[in-house]
Symmetry: C2
Subunit: 118 residues, 2 copies
């Protein structure tokens, strides 16, 4: 009898594309900090390290927000050495929900302009 | 000195258009029951009574879901006699976030078809 290896602190489980649910994506984006992370990821073409983001929350809260984004299927995270790199799962989201990500990003930009929070 | 009247059980406070926040709208739609209510409201042109909806939850949970939708600015509720009528705030949402509501509804329809939950 074999036992599964204990999960490592470096395990980063991701939902497969067909496990991604709209409700989970919307929940992930219903927080202003997570919405801001997604906007920054969408603005560039590169993966970004967690440490790149200058967020008004503690390090452990930052880790939590990235985990919610990963577990809902919005971002992909991978270790490169000791850094955790983050990228938007744009292909998966566009395939599942065509046009949705762009509409959400446009709405976030528009609101930030309206409220002067950019 | 005057005091404000006690809030009545029939008070139904709504956010003004410019108080509606994207994060609140996404939170409201991040629940499968609330997403279903919004899809039904979007499918017709009429306001619908809460009792119209055949939802797999208790009456008090139903009331809670409608309140979340109202307080986030997604729906408008008004009493007609003893019935509470519900309508989507499509004009307000389209004005604040052009294209978002349609993209969200299309994503919900597409997911329901994919998962066979319609």
């Amino acid at each position: 009898m074999t036992t599964a290896p204990a999960p490592s602190a470096r395990d980063l489980p991701h939902p497969a594309r067909d496990e991604i649910r709209l409700e989970g994506v919307l929940h992930a984006l219903s927080d202003p900090v997570r919405l801001r992370i997604v906007r920054e990821l969408a603005a560039g073409s590169d993966e970004l390290a967690c440490s790149h983001f200058d967020l008004p929350v503690t390090k452990s809260t930052t880790t939590h927000h990235f985990r919610v984004l990963r577990e809902s299927g919005v971002i992909r995270q991978a270790y490169r050495g000791t850094a955790k790199l983050n990228g938007l799962r744009r292909d998966d989201l566009d395939d599942l929900f065509p046009g949705l990500l762009d509409a959400l990003l446009a709405a976030a930009v528009r609101q930030a302009a309206r409220l002067g929070t950019d």
